[in-house]
Amino acid sequence: MSGYKYPIPRSSEITPRAAILDRRRFIAGMSGLALAAAVPTPGKSATREKLDAIASPLSTDEEPNSYDDVTSYNNYYEFGTGKSDPAKHAHELTTRPWAIKVGGLVNNPGEIGIEDLLSAYTLEDRIYRLRCVEAWSMVIPWVGIPLADIIDKFDVQGSAKYLAFETLVRPEEMRGQRSTFPILPWPYAEGLRLDEARHPLSILAVGLHGEVMPNQNGAPVRLVVPWKYGFKSIKSIVSMRFTEEEPTSTWNVQNPREYGFYSNVNPNVDHPRWSQATERRIGGGLFAKRIETQMFNGYGEQVASLYDGMDLTKFY
């Protein structure tokens, strides 16, 4: 880790949200009312509330995807399997009141309310690459809290080795959970090794693009682990449990051969049905060139040591 300096963007280099909105309004105006009307209004219910956050040295300096891209192209099967389904249906979810139940191998079990998360911690802007297992990627400016800071409040017992997460189950507000043949077994569950969870890159995100998290992106609070495939970054979390045994994770249960517990981004280990060597960066349009996928999604310098001595073709 020595010698490497994270690039720290000066706050003057970050385009203010108002300027982006102005630009967008200008472009929409230029291309006529029809187009402006066709632009979906993401997160209908969500109050587009701003969050105060500080810049982080862990952010990438790559250009983030637009607010529209990030909020209209989502995998969130609780609201449907289509990429645009979450943007259409996630406004049906109520995100207040909200609390994460914290239990398992801790001396201090309890709850974290969303208001506490928003007020008791310093929020950080974390601009991360996101690599989906489906071989597309984005750059997303999350707003979040280091997961380690939250973990520490609960006085974790020495025997705990893993952290298990669960998403809300509320079929009356999550139409994907209402189908007769469930697309996935609910609740959606994910897990991390405790050292992965404590890694400085791992955050609980409560917003993006400087605003409160839109519902379709996993409001009010979701995990973001940027060196793993996107599905590990579980959304709308209601439970965190510390365990000694490796917890189950939804996609691993669904298809263990295709989705391992670790699911680190790895261009050398193909998904059985498609290659992971390259990816398409969303937002580049029809003719965007494919880019090479990087080991650990480009975060190898920070996280590779977590996996020293492990055969990553076996622990995929």
């Binding site: 187009l35 066709a38 995807n65 529209d68 891209d69 209209s72 192209y73 099967y77 399997t81 990429k83 645009s84 489906e134 597309w136 043949f181 697309i183 996935l184 996609w251 669904q254 193909d270 049905r273 498609w274 290659s275 060597a277 390259t278 398409r280 969303i282 937002g283 349009g285 029809l286 003719f287 965007a288 060139k289 494919r290």
Partner: protein, 201 residues
């Protein structure tokens, strides 16, 4: 026993512009950038899905004739050729825009990815059918041999649906529904009508 002539009033050539409207709509969306954040996948998947739908329309002609006694056979060649056009467009988008003519990656896909292998096999089988979709070929091959050759479309349609089913995550309903429709359309061909209908064609 004569069917209503209204069913076949439309000239055959009109099938092409009508059935290719969705392709035009998708291509226009791609050009005018209204397909959302990932226009490539919308275009690629949309063309593939329409190929399946048009294949299904072609497979429906015989059951419609047998069970509803409506003879639409004059449109079947055009429907088959439109399906072929959708497959060509779908394949071109995959090769040029998705894989960006990276032949090593394409070759690896064909060998290693069953859904690509099956899709490619369906395309290869479709080529001789498109090439023999003309009166000259029927004469040249003889009606019986020509019919036998064109039964390949049964395999092609099933392959097309499996190609879709193998590429999705989990078990969303759409590919399963397409496969069930195709299997149903093939299964009804095994049902012998009680009264033999002789239609001139």
């Amino acid at each position: 026993m004569a069917q209503s002539r209204y069913w076949t009033l439309m000239p055959e050539w009109l099938v092409y512009p009508i059935a290719l409207l969705p392709a035009a709509h998708l291509l226009w969306g791609a050009v005018s950038n209204t397909l959302g954040p990932d226009p490539l996948k919308v275009l690629e998947n949309g063309l593939g899905e329409w190929a399946l739908r048009v294949l299904i329309a072609g497979l429906a002609i015989t059951p419609i004739m047998r069970f509803l006694r409506i003879n639409l056979i004059k449109y079947r060649r055009a429907i088959g050729l439109v399906a072929f056009i959708y497959v060509i467009l779908h394949l071109s988008v995959y090769l040029v825009l998705d894989k960006q003519l990276d032949w090593a990656a394409i070759g690896a896909d064909i060998v290693k990815r069953p859904y690509i292998t099956i899709g490619m096999a369906a395309f290869v089988m479709l080529v001789p059918l498109a090439a023999t979709s003309n009166k000259w070929s029927v004469r040249k091959l003889g009606s019986a041999a020509w019919r036998r050759l064109h039964r390949l479309v049964y395999v092609i349609a099933v392959f097309g649906a499996i190609h879709y089913l193998l590429l999705v995550k989990a078990w969303p309903p759409e590919p399963i529904i397409y496969l069930l429709i195709i299997v149903a359309l093939l299964a009804v061909r095994l049902v012998r009508p009680q009264r033999r209908l002789r239609t001139a064609s």
